[in-house]
C-alpha cells in the first residue's frame, strides 16, 4: 500500500508564554512551529515537462489551487521569454471567484464564524450557494473561450453574498447591514474584542525585485523563511488595503469582508474593468534565459513561484513562497501582534490568540496554547 504520510497537510502550533500576574503578566515568548510541507514542489516537479506543472500544482493544493496554477503558468511563460500576462488574463474570473470563496469559507470556519451546527440554516445555505458557484467558476477558468463569464453562477453568488451582508458603497467603503452575518463577524473582531493590532507594513509588487533576487540566490531557504532586514512585511487583505490608503490596523476582518464584496462586484463588472484590475493582481519576470518568477495576489496574500527550466523544457528547479510564510514567520506580523497584546493563560487569553490567528488566516490548521512561565 502506498502512503502519503510523508506529505500530510501540515499544521501550525502557536505557543505563547506569558508571565504570571504577580510578575505583571505580558508576553515572554511566541513560538510558531510549522509542520507544513516545504520543498515538496522541487522534489516532485524536477525533470517533469514544464507544461505539466500548472495543472499538477493546482491539483496538489487544497486551498488557492487556481492561484498556484496561474503563478506556475506565468513563471513558466516568463522563463520561456513569453508574455505571462495572457496566462493570468485567461484565469482572472477564476481568481476572483477563488478569492471570494476562500475568504467566505475561512470566515465562516473557526473562531471567525461558528460551528456549522450553530450557523442558521439560511446562512449556511447561502454559503453553500457561493461555494458551489465559485467552484464552478474556478473549474472553468482558463478553459472557456475568451474567458466568457458564467453569468448564472456569478448571479447566484452575488445574490447570496448580498444576503450575507458585505457590500461596497459608491466610494468603495464597506457597508454591513445591521444583523447580517457579516455585521456579526465584524462586531466579534472589531474594537469591542479588545484585541490590539499593529499597522501593516504591506508586501507589494514594489518588493518583488528584492524577493526575486533572494529567491534566485537561495530558493529553498528563502521560500521557507522569507525575511527583509529591518522590516516585518504583512501580506493579505489588510496589507492590500493598506497599500491603497490608510486603514485602521484593527480592521483586518473588515478588509477581508471588503474583498468579498469587491470580488463579487468585479465578477459582475464589464470586461474592461476586470482587465484594469488584473494589473494589480499579478506580475512575472524573466530572471535569465531559462528562469522565471511570478507573483499572484492569492486570497491570503502575495504568492511567488520560481521556476528554472533545462535545455529541453523540463523543470530543473522549482520553489514556491506562500503568503503564510510571511505572516506566520518566527518574528512576523502575527508574532509581533501577539506580543503587543497581553493574553492571559486562561480560556480568554487562548481565545484572544486564536481570534488574532484567525484574523491573519493561515493556509493550514492551527492549534493555540497559552502557558504561564516565570521570567528568567
Amino acid at each position: 500500500m502506498t502512503s502519503t504520510a510523508a506529505f500530510g497537510p501540515g499544521a501550525i502550533a502557536l505557543s505563547v508564554a506569558v508571565a504570571p500576574p504577580d510578575e505583571g503578566g505580558g508576553v515572554i515568548d511566541v513560538k510558531v512551529a510549522s509542520t507544513r510541507p516545504v520543498g515538496f514542489s522541487t522534489a516532485l516537479f524536477v525533470n517533469r515537462p514544464a507544461d505539466e506543472i500548472p495543472a499538477l500544482v493546482g491539483r496538489l493544493h487544497a486551498l488557492c489551487g487556481l492561484s498556484h496554477t496561474a503563478a506556475a503558468a506565468m513563471a513558466i511563460a516568463a522563463a520561456r521569454g513569453r508574455d505571462a500576462s495572457a496566462e493570468a488574463a485567461a484565469r482572472f474570473d477564476g481568481l476572483l471567484a477563488e478569492r471570494l470563496g476562500e475568504h467566505l469559507r475561512s470566515t465562516f470556519l473557526g473562531p471567525a464564524g461558528a460551528p456549522p451546527g450553530e450557523v442558521p440554516r439560511d446562512m449556511l445555505a447561502d454559503l453553500r450557494v457561493v461555494l458551489a458557484a465559485t467552484r464552478e467558476l474556478v473549474t472553468a477558468a482558463g478553459r472557456t473561450p475568451a474567458n466568457e463569464p458564467h453569468r448564472d453562477a456569478i448571479e447566484r453568488a452575488r445574490a447570496a453574498v448580498s444576503r450575507l451582508g458585505p457590500a461596497l458603497d459608491a466610494t468603495g467603503a464597506l457597508r454591513l447591514p445591521p444583523a447580517s452575518w457579516a455585521a456579526g463577524v465584524a462586531e466579534r473582531f472589531g474594537p469591542a474584542s479588545g484585541d490590539v493590532h499593529l499597522d501593516a507594513d504591506p508586501l507589494t509588487g514594489a518588493d518583488d525585485t528584492t524577493i526575486v533576487a533572494a529567491l534566485a540566490a537561495d530558493p529553498t531557504g528563502f521560500a521557507a523563511h522569507p525575511r527583509f532586514s529591518g522590516r516585518r512585511p504583512e501580506t493579505g487583505p489588510l496589507a492590500r488595503a493598506a497599500a491603497r490608503g490608510p486603514i485602521e490596523a484593527g480592521r483586518r476582518l473588515d478588509a477581508r469582508l471588503a474583498e468579498i464584496a469587491a470580488a463579487v462586484d468585479l465578477l459582475a463588472a464589464p470586461a474592461a474593468a476586470r482587465r484594469r484590475a488584473l494589473a494589480d493582481w499579478v506580475d512575472a519576470v524573466a530572471i535569465d534565459g531559462h528562469t522565471g518568477c511570478a507573483a499572484v495576489e492569492s486570497p491570503r496574500g502575495r504568492l511567488h513561484h520560481l521556476v528554472r527550466l533545462d535545455g529541453i523544457g523540463r523543470v530543473a528547479f522549482y520553489a514556491i513562497l506562500a503568503p503564510t510564510e510571511w505572516n506566520f514567520g518566527p518574528d512576523g506580523p502575527f508574532a509581533a501582534t501577539i506580543r503587543a497584546n497581553r493574553p492571559t493563560a486562561d480560556e480568554a487569553g487562548r481565545a484572544r490568540v486564536e481570534r488574532i490567528a484567525a484574523a491573519f488566516d493561515p493556509c493550514v490548521g492551527f492549534a493555540v496554547t497559552v502557558e504561564e512561565r516565570q521570567r528568567a
Binding site: T2, P37, L60, H61, L63, P116, G117, V364, G365
Partner: protein
C-alpha cells in the same frame, strides 16, 4: 500551503458529518460546506471540513502524486 489529500467517504453521519478514510486512518469530518456527498465519494479536506468533491480518477492521480512525493522525501532522508 495546504496539500489536497483526497479522502474516501465511508459513511454519512447525522449533523452534516461523515466518516472518511485518509491514508488508512478513519476520521469524522463536516460535510456542511459541500452538497450531495455520499459514501464512495472522494472529498478534499481542510481543518476537518470537506472543501469539495473530486472524481475517483482525479483522486487516484493526486494520491499517486503524493505517494511519489512521499517516496522522494523518504529517499532523501
Amino acid at each position: 500551503m495546504c496539500l489536497a489529500i483526497p479522502a474516501l467517504v465511508s459513511e454519512l453521519l447525522p449533523g452534516d458529518m461523515a466518516k472518511v478514510s485518509l491514508d488508512g486512518v478513519t476520521k469524522e469530518i463536516s460535510i456542511a460546506m459541500v452538497e450531495d456527498v455520499k459514501p464512495g465519494d472522494y472529498v478534499i479536506i481542510h481543518v476537518g471540513y470537506a472543501l469539495s468533491k473530486i472524481d475517483a480518477e482525479e483522486a487516484a492521480k493526486t494520491l499517486a502524486l503524493l505517494a511519489e512525493a512521499g517516496a522522494l522525501a523518504g529517499a532523501a532522508e
